[in-house]
């Protein structure tokens, strides 16, 4: 127990927690949106994230040709490099997500089979992706060149808040806002919400189910790709199993806020990020996962639909 650190470093912990929380928010959107329309845990989402991190690193290393000891770049060049990495990560993750849906879910869904079969085929796809990348990269972690000068924007005593943390918060909030607007305002967003309320009724209303589900996977993938880009910008390294723990935490965040509910994912992600950041200085980093689990169980016991209510009716396995 180390409570004095919490007091002396409250602000840096708070801001880092929010930044971590936004990464969780974006990944958990991938889970929560797919869960909304299909009532399925998209097991492959963590691998979609992993593919995005590799896309980011490979674009900056192999396409722009930056090596690990490149000096950070500035100005317009920096902005377009970062935007190119972001777009590449989003596109590749989005396309991967759509392909995952085609391979793992569509055929099974058209046969009207049980949910566990889809779960296993999603697990299979997830294995294919992570093992494929493991073989291709020979299990070697890929480091990303530092393109952004990591100067401190704010300082609290000895500890500073770096520019990348601020970037994650701003970009995360912006992306979440856009997705939220998209789902509430556009026609396709309306269709997605309709499908998550009732598949049969939305089909009767003339909604092309397959198109909506593909679109959901695409959006989930794009957002997860953005999270992957932000993750690489902050941590500057990726490895084939990077998605596992983050995916688990993001899924917990989605459940915490009420799965299937976009705003729930937002609050759940932030709450989890903050909690992890504070809990790991108080109890030690190795107990982080245990504490997250305890919180999850407590929340589920006291509020079984998540903190902010889920947007789905009762379903069963």
């Amino acid at each position: 127990m180390n409570l004095s650190v919490v007091v002396s470093q409250f602000w840096p912990l708070l801001i880092n927690g929010i930044a971590l929380g936004f990464i969780y928010v974006l990944i958990s959107l991938g889970y929560t949106m797919v869960y909304g329309v299909l009532r399925l845990i998209n097991f492959a989402n963590s691998e979609i994230f992993m593919v995005g991190t590799f896309a980011t690193v490979i674009v900056s290393r192999n396409i722009f040709g930056y090596s690990l000891n490149t000096e950070p770049i500035h100005g317009f060049k920096l902005i377009y490099t970062l935007v190119a990495c972001l777009v590449a990560s989003m596109l590749i993750s989005g396309v991967t997500a759509v392909i995952v849906e085609l391979i793992a879910y569509r055929r099974l869904r058209s046969k009207g089979t049980n949910r566990l079969a889809s779960l296993i085929s999603a697990i299979g796809t997830s294995l294919i992706l992570s093992e494929g990348v493991r073989i291709l990269t020979k299990s070697v972690p890929y480091a990303s060149p530092r393109l952004l000068t990591k100067f401190n924007v704010l300082t609290f005593g000895k500890v500073g808040i770096r520019i990348d943390t601020v970037m994650v918060i701003v970009a995360g909030a912006l992306i979440f806002f856009l997705v939220d607007r998209f789902v509430t305002k556009t026609l396709l967003g309306k269709a997605i919400r309709a499908v998550s309320m009732s598949e049969e009724n939305s089909r009767l209303m003339g909604i092309n189910l397959n198109r909506v589900i593909s679109a959901t996977f695409l959006i989930g993938g794009l957002v997860t790709g953005a999270a992957a880009f932000l993750y690489v910008t902050v941590y500057e390294v990726t490895v084939f199993n990077v998605g596992f723990n983050l995916g688990l935490a993001a899924f917990t965040a989605a459940v915490l806020g009420g799965i299937g509910n976009l705003r729930g994912a937002f609050y759940g992600g932030l709450a989890l990020g903050l909690f992890e950041e504070f809990a790991s200085v108080v109890f030690g980093g190795q107990w982080k996962a245990v504490l997250v689990f305890v919180v999850l169980v407590l929340v589920l016991l006291l509020k079984p639909n998540g903190l902010f209510g889920e947007a789905v009716q009762q379903t069963r396995v």
Binding site: R39, A117, I123, G124, S126, G132, L248, T252, V290
Partner: protein
């Protein structure tokens, strides 16, 4: 689609008592002979290229069949999605390791203790979480599986990341020795446990608990209305499954003589769940077939060792697409219809 299960069931039902018992005895004898199959030329195709064939028969094959049967009670019979089954395996293994190295109890005395410990953990986890809806149960059990591993990893008193070495082998019974170079003994023990579990599951299926589980799986709300005390039967299902996992853990620890946290990762839970679904949820023969294939295949194709998990993932996707109900699905009338409303 070829319906092997119905063909098998029809054949079985057409047989008389003597024919059935002869078949069962011959089958058990043949399976019991499996450890020696590597020695004969016509069966040596079963040999695994890199790892010792007899060891492979015990772990993963025998263990996975045992654990898949245990998980089948939870997932297949009562429809509760458990993604952290490895936790009970780990609890059994650690019980065996701690008691085996610190006390004079031998493996046979530890076995019931390990099962009880796993069962207790199952009840403890089940009491708060089995009230929850399926998907939440999935994530909570998943978390629980990771927690058990993390606690073992971060507790220096039980070895931390290095685990516990020098777990004693079981003492011999009926002249059968149990040691690293006598793997067939372990195989026979696992086989006996598997047979016991099969017998137990078959008895349960036709009696009150089996009917209650079936009702819970098909429709919880209707089951409540029909007066089934669903929480009690869910906890029974959960803790019986846990006890079987614990038994597998005890045998595993005394067989490998060593336990470490990295043996009990999430992947094991997923693999065992895959065994259940791949073979055919709810049907014990399907589950046994599925577990045998999924445990044996990665060892058999070890020559492509680097890509074997990849091929495994690929085969999961292909098989689930071709046979979504598993290789040997349960009877059609038992199947859950309209799972998603």
């Amino acid at each position: 689609m070829i319906n092997l299960r119905d063909k098998g069931a029809n054949l079985w039902e057409s047989w008389g008592r003597t024919k059935r018992s002869t078949f069962v005895i011959v089958l058990i004898a043949l399976v019991g002979m499996l450890p020696f199959a590597g020695n004969f030329s016509f069966t040596s195709i079963l040999n695994t290229p890199i790892s010792s064939y007899q060891a492979v028969l015990v772990y993963p094959v025998g263990m996975y069949v045992l654990m898949a049967l245990g998980l089948n009670i939870v997932v297949g019979k009562s429809g509760l999605l458990d993604l952290g089954y490895v936790a009970f395996f780990a609890i059994g293994a650690y019980t065996a390791a701690i008691l085996g190295t610190h006390t004079h109890l031998n493996t046979w005395e530890i076995l019931p203790i390990g099962m009880a410990a796993a069962m207790f953990a199952g009840v403890l986890l089940g009491l708060p979480t089995l009230r929850l809806r399926g998907d939440y149960l999935a994530i909570v059990t998943l978390g629980f599986g990771e927690i058990v591993r993390i606690v073992a990893l971060n507790s220096p008193s039980i070895g931390g990341p290095t685990g516990i070495p020098a777990v004693p082998n079981p003492p011999s019974i009926l002249g059968i020795k149990f040691s690293l170079d006598n793997m067939q003994g372990f195989f026979w023990i696992v086989l006996v446990l598997i047979l016991l579990v099969i017998w137990m599951v078959r008895r349960f299926t036709v009696r009150r608990p089996g009917r209650a589980w079936e009702a819970i799986r098909q429709d919880e709300d209707v089951a409540i209305l029909m007066g089934v005390p669903i929480l009690r039967y869910k906890i029974w299902s959960f803790s019986i499954g846990a006890a079987i996992g614990g038994a597998a853990g005890v045998i595993f620890a005394s067989k490998s003589m060593y336990v470490a946290p990295n043996m009990f990762t999430f992947n094991v839970s997923i693999l065992i769940l895959s065994c259940v679904v791949f073979g055919g949820m709810g049907n014990i023969w399907g589950v046994i077939l599925g577990a045998t294939i999924l445990a044996y295949l990665p060892e058999r194709i070890r020559f492509i060792s680097n890509a074997r998990q990849f091929v495994f993932g690929l085969s999961l996707v292909v098989i689930m697409n071709v046979r979504p109900d598993g290789l040997l699905p349960r009877k059609k009338r038992e199947k859950l219809t309209g799972a998603k409303k």
